[in-house]
Symmetry: C2
Amino acid sequence: MSPSIEDALGFFRLSCGRWRSQRSSHHLLHRRAEAGGSFIEVVELGLEDPRLRAIAELHGQDPAGLVGGCRVTWSGSMAWDKAGEAHEGESVFALIPHDERGRAGLLLRDRGYAETAPVAGHFAMDDRDELLLTTDYETMSTLERFRFSGPDVRLRTSTVQGLSNTASFCVETRLPAGGAGEVGAAARDPREKAPAGALSPLGW
Amino acid sequence: MSPSIEDALGFFRLSCGRWRSQRSSHHLLHRRAEAGGSFIEVVELGLEDPRLRAIAELHGQDPAGLVGGCRVTWSGSMAWDKAGEAHEGESVFALIPHDERGRAGLLLRDRGYAETAPVAGHFAMDDRDELLLTTDYETMSTLERFRFSGPDVRLRTSTVQGLSNTASFCVETRLPAGGAGEVGAAARDPREKAPAGALSPLGW
């Protein structure tokens, strides 16, 4: 069973580190599945980090409600990209819980994928310590479920409904500390296909 | 949002019909993902069906607790099979709820994948009407989560822990009534790769 996770901030802290992500994306209309992979790094940001306050203000939220946040960077390319073409990106997330236990509330980020306006997601942890994230964009809505299968494996199921309906699944395995440069290596290696940017509104 | 589903029998009734299944299987150690596809047919069995009573007795359960069951047939082949090599199979499932609402209890079947002894799974529906199924085999345990994304799309996430650790994801789309013979066509078409038998202890 997964470890007991106290709150959403705890869930994000468990997510910190370097991950290798295997993704499958299923296109419901085209009946196609695409595979990909990427490298992801998650770093916690302290409450004093000015980026968190800036994100809260960007969303019209009171920064006093912040409990923390993180910065996520990713690198990868889609299976349908030309060899060597890579997607890299970075996003900052801020958490503002709305309940006393810190298990439900707003997930704010500096940008959404394919949208210019900042978008707030709503998170809620269930009684199995899985984290559900729902986000409504102008043209689509997403539902994502994150689950730890032990401390070093994170599973993510996502559905996107809107202009195109897709369902995707990520298996993320923790990379050992150190070994810097793998992200760059992945981006250069055409065998490492990665859908990070293109498949999730979250981008990671 | 998914429709409101009263109980596990209702969930199984929604599953009745013919489905096309797209599957991705992720091998955590080998860091490989495999794609596949299969055709699945689910038919409800009436309470008077002698196969349901037989399954209850096989598991040492009182047949009076049965609320229903279904027969599942599948056809497909794995991506790593030789072209034309197909897996076909059939399994019968019986439901014995243990709560008053019929949302949690035992899922009995006539056989488990790769195990000769009959194995009982434990199901529980959560407050989002998703169905979780846990099964402990002698050499492995599985956790499966089923969710309807509308009446014609069913998503399934599975993890298998034991001899080999895999995580898989299925997107199942309902096929229109009629059009008989597609199952056979799929089995003959080497482009239709299907993991049904090999990837899920349930086999479907």
